[in-house]
Symmetry: C2
Subunit: 167 residues, 2 copies
């Protein structure tokens, strides 16, 4: 994600960059406040949960744009939610990637790397506290950088968010 324009062996770029990024427009509805900065960020959500427990960090917090405070109505502490957020600064032009941890090059759609045509992150977390008047939400953990723009909060539903028992 910080690799600027470097290309590793086996990686494939889009021939002419990402192309139009105005097929649709996003609004940032808030920011995710976390203990993590570039260079000191857990590798994934599980690692974030472990570090928050082991190192005594405060729980991550979502600071909503106050215009969206009422959109929290009926959300409950203890409830699992899916967060969608914008991986600001991630490059968008790699179609095949060779991440350091993988055994070889893989397609972007077979990876959870932040590098993707639309750098939207998704994570399922637990709402641990919620303050409608302050337009804030506390969550159990997340692995993104401090100040990451938030796009959406969705109640997690087993019938939509888990693979079916049989396909």
């Amino acid at each position: 994600m910080t690799r600027a324009n470097e290309v590793r062996d086996g990686e494939v770029l889009l021939p002419h960059g990402i192309g139009a990024t105005d097929d649709a427009g996003l609004v940032f509805v808030g920011r995710i406040r976390t203990p993590w900065a570039r260079g000191d960020c857990p590798r994934n959500l599980r690692a974030a949960r472990e570090r928050i427990a082991a190192e005594g960090h405060p729980r991550p917090r979502i600071e909503l744009d106050p215009r969206f405070a009422l959109a929290l109505t009926a959300l409950q502490p203890g409830q699992p939610v899916m967060l969608l957020y914008w991986l600001d600064g991630a490059r968008r032009d790699l179609v095949v990637q060779a991440p350091a941890h993988a055994d070889g090059p893989r397609g972007t759609f077979a990876l959870r790397s932040p590098v993707r045509p639309n750098p939207i992150g998704a994570a399922t977390v637990i709402v641990t506290a919620l303050d409608l008047a302050a337009a804030t939400l506390e969550i159990d953990a997340i692995d993104c950088f401090d100040d990451t723009p938030l796009l959406d909060i969705k109640p997690w539903l087993e019938t939509v968010d888990m693979p079916p028992a049989r396909a």
Copy 2:
């Protein structure tokens, strides 16, 4: 979603519309081809699975922009993936909504309604077939309209996409 500018009892709109939708820009990476049209669309993913099985519809198909074909490299049939797609035409200005099926008004972030500030749909489905040369993917089911723009495909991961055992 088809309710134009109607407002039901208990619903709350943003005071000045959605505001800037150019905080970030999206690129459509393909289209989702489904049997569903406006007015004849299953209510949710489970209902879509049931109708596809009961009514003998062909499985939904993803037609990728050919520039992104190689991004499928290393995806496997049988694998669960999360799809992110753009709910074209959904209104974006409701903060509190009163859906017909709910017992009362609820915040947008407590609902899976397509009406949201960033109308991004998320569904976990199974890849049933995949043709890299044709840049197409077949999936077990989905409940969106035919021709819905695709934003992303992510491998589904239990550690990221399921609520933790303990928060």
